[in-house]
Symmetry: C2
C-alpha cells in the first residue's frame, strides 16, 4: 500500500470476493408541492439520491445493511463500475462475499448524502427554479436531513426494517440519527470512530478550511460554476483535513523529517519535506473530484450536529433508541473523533439499558483507521451482526 | 482574564513588582566585508538586533538571564514602553522584582529574533543593496543563526557568561542551540514546552499556513510592501496556529458548542460558533501586527530545526553541553510540543550525565500553558535558578 493511498477514503484491494461490476442508480422524489421540508424549515426539491446496492434483498426483506459514508465519499462503496477501473469503491475491503458486510447474506445499500456532489442533490445541482446551479441559494442542511432523505430512498426500495445502519466518522452521526428518527426500523447501529456531537476543536479546524475556500477569489460567493474553480482554497482545506485524519505517531513513522531534496532544505524557501509534498498531492488530487460548495455545506452540517439537540441531553435523546444492540468502536490515535466521544455515546446508551459492544482499537493510523483497520474490524463486526 | 487574551502571547497582569518603563534598544553590527555568514552559507548584513534589558548587570557580570522568545513575540518581554500602555511586555508575569526572573537579582536580556519584524533584521527590513525591503531576497535562516546573531549582541554588551538561557516553545530551541554552540558560556538552560526537533505534524500544520499566505493574491511573491497586505492568508495561518496553541479539553471548557446567534445556526452558512468568532478575532488582530514574510521565514526556521543535525543523534549532539543543570518542563495537554518531545530531550541529557530537572505539568491550556501557567512555573524556576 503506497503512502498516496492514505488520507480519507484511501482504497485498499484485498483478495476476498468482490461484488463485481456495479452501477450507481438514481431515485428522484418530490413531495407535494414539489418540496421537501428541511430540519431548518426551508424547502428543497425535487431531490435526487444516488445509490448503489450489493447483494440481494431476501424475500422477508429483513437482510438490509445501510452504509453511511463520510465527508467526501460517494454511493460507490464496493465493486467497480468498469472492469478496467483501477480502484474499487471506497469500502470494498468491508463489503462483498465473505467480508464484514457479507453480500451473500446481506443486501447492502449505500447512498450519496444530501449536499454532496456525487449524484445526490447538492449546491452544484441545477436549481429547477433558475436553471442554474444552486450555489449559495442551496439551503443549509443537517445530518438529520441527510437521513430523512435516505429514508425516502429506503421506502422507495420497499424496505421497512434495517438489520444494521453502519457508519464511520460523519457516517456514524447518520447512523445515530437513523436510530433516533426511525427507531422502529433499526435493529442495530454500528458506529466507527464517530461522535454524538462535534467538538469545538473540529469546528475550529473546519472554519480554517471554510475560510480558505471563501477567501479564494475564484470562490466568488459560491457562484463559480462554469468559471474558474476555487481550487487553491479547497486544496488548503483538504490539506488541513488530511492532517486531522492521520496521527502524530503515524506521521513520524511514515514521513518523519524526510525531505524531498535535503540539499536545498536550508536554502530554498519552497523546498519541501515529504509530508508537505504528500499534502500538496492530496490537495491537488482532491480539487479535481470535489465541489467546493459541497465541502462547505457538509462541514457545516457536521459543525451543527448534536444528537442531544431537542432532547436536552444525550441520555434523554437516546431514550428513543429501540436497537437490539449497538456496536461502538474508537481508535486510540484518533484525535479528530477521540475515544472520549465514543465513550460518551456508550455511557448514554448504557444509561438507557441498551446493549452495547464497545471496542477501543489500538491503532497508529488516527481517524483514518476506520478505513484502514478492516482486518481488525471484520471479525468484530461479523460477530456483532451474527448476534443480532 | 477575558478569552481574547488566550492564544500565543496572551498578556496577563499580576500584582507583583514591575520593571517599570523600559525602552527597546538597537545594536547594529557588520562583519567584514559587511556581511554575516549564515548557517546555509549565504551572507546577510549589516544586521540590527532589537533588545531590552531589565535589572542590572552585577560587577562580576555573572547574573545574566537570556530570554528567548517564541514565534511572534518581540524584545519587549516586561514592563511598559509608556505609562499609558494598556499591556506590559509578553512575559511580564515572569520577569520583574520578586518574579521567577527576579530583576533585583538578575540582569535579564530579551532580543527580537533574526527574521522577525520587531526591530531585528528580517524580510521587511530594507536591503541596503537595493534600498527596498528584502522580501524573498532575504536568505533562509535557522534557529542557529538566530542564536549566533544574539551572541553578537551579548558580546557587544560585554557579557561572557550566562546564568541561564530560557525559552518556551521555539524559544526553547534557541536555548538548546545556545548550549550547543557556546557551551563554555552557558551555565544552565530552561526549556518550557519545547522540542529538539520539529515533528512532521508541526511541519504539516505550518505548510497549511504558509500555503494560505502564498496563495493570497496580495502576497505577490513576497513583494507586497507599500501595497495591499496579504491579510487574508496570514489571518488563516494565524487562526490555524491558534488552534494548535490550545487544547481540545480547554476549547470544550471555554467555548463548548456555544453559538454567537443560535437562531441562525441552522439557517445562515456564515453564522458562527463562539470558537469561530474567537479565531476570526485573533486572525484580524494578528495581521495588524505581524509581517507575512516574517511569519513564513520563522515557521520555516522551525521546520528545519533538528538539534541532532550534524551530530547524528541527539545523544551525540548533547555531548557538547556543559551546563551545570538543565530545566525541562512540558504540559500534559500540549499537542504542538507534546510531552514525548521534552522526554526525548531529558533522555539525551541523562545519557550524557547532565543534571536535569524535569516536570510534566498538568494543565488544560495546551501549548499556551508556557505563557499561562506562570503560577506553577514561578516556584519551580526560582528553585532551579537558586540551585545553579
Amino acid at each position: 500500500m503506497s503512502y498516496k493511498e492514505f488520507g480519507e477514503a484511501p482504497v485498499i484491494i484485498v483478495d476476498k470476493g468482490s461484488v463485481g461490476i456495479v452501477e450507481t442508480k438514481y431515485y428522484t422524489f418530490a413531495h407535494p408541492p414539489n418540496k421537501f421540508i428541511l430540519d431548518n424549515g426551508k424547502t428543497l426539491g425535487p431531490i435526487t439520491v444516488a445509490y448503489e446496492t450489493y447483494g440481494r434483498l431476501n424475500p422477508q426483506r429483513d437482510n438490509v445493511i445501510l452504509v453511511e459514508h463520510a465527508l467526501t465519499a460517494s454511493a460507490h462503496a464496493a465493486g467497480k463500475h468498469h472492469p478496467e477501473d483501477k480502484y474499487p469503491g471506497w469500502w470494498d475491503v468491508m463489503i462483498g462475499p465473505g467480508k464484514a458486510f457479507d453480500t451473500t447474506k446481506y443486501f447492502v445499500i449505500c447512498s450519496n448524502i444530501l449536499g454532496s456532489c456525487y449524484g445526490t442533490t447538492g449546491p452544484s445541482s441545477i436549481n429547477p427554479e433558475t436553471g442554474r446551479p444552486y450555489g449559495l441559494s442551496f439551503p443549509m442542511i443537517s445530518i438529520r436531513d441527510m437521513v430523512r432523505v435516505q429514508r425516502e430512498l429506503v421506502k422507495h426500495l420497499g424496505i421497512k426494517r434495517i438489520r444494521s445502519v453502519v457508519g464511520g466518522s460523519m457516517g456514524g452521526m447518520q447512523a445515530i440519527e437513523w436510530a433516533l428518527l426511525y427507531p422502529e426500523m433499526v435493529d442495530s447501529i454500528i458506529l466507527i470512530a464517530s461522535a454524538a456531537r462535534t467538538s469545538p476543536q473540529s469546528i475550529a479546524i473546519h472554519r480554517v478550511g471554510i475560510q480558505a475556500i471563501m477567501d479564494d477569489p475564484n470562490w466568488n460567493n459560491g457562484d463559480y460554476y462554469g468559471k474558474a474553480f476555487p481550487e487553491k482554497g479547497l486544496a488548503i482545506a483538504r490539506m488541513l483535513g488530511h492532517i486531522t485524519y492521520l496521527s502524530d505517531k503515524w506521521l513520524w513513522e511514515k514521513f518523519g523529517r524526510k525531505h524531498t531534496d535535503p540539499a536545498t532544505m536550508k536554502l530554498n524557501l519552497n523546498s519541501k519535506f515529504e509530508i508537505e509534498s504528500y499534502l500538496e498531492y492530496q490537495g491537488t488530487k482532491f480539487v479535481k473530484r470535489f465541489d467546493a460548495n459541497s465541502y462547505i455545506y457538509l462541514l457545516r452540517s457536521i459543525d451543527i450536529y448534536d444528537a442531544a439537540e431537542g432532547y436536552g441531553s444525550l441520555k434523554e435523546s437516546f431514550k428513543r433508541i429501540r436497537c437490539k444492540r449497538v456496536f461502538v468502536s474508537s481508535f486510540s490515535s484518533d484525535w479528530l473523533y477521540p475515544t472520549y466521544q465514543s465513550e460518551e455515546i456508550v455511557e448514554a446508551l448504557e444509561a438507557n439499558n441498551i446493549d452495547v459492544v464497545y471496542h477501543e482499537i489500538k491503532s497508529p493510523y488516527g481517524h483514518d483507521s476506520f478505513l484502514l483497520e478492516y482486518e481488525i474490524l471484520t471479525p468484530l463486526i461479523t460477530d456483532f451482526l451474527n448476534s443480532i
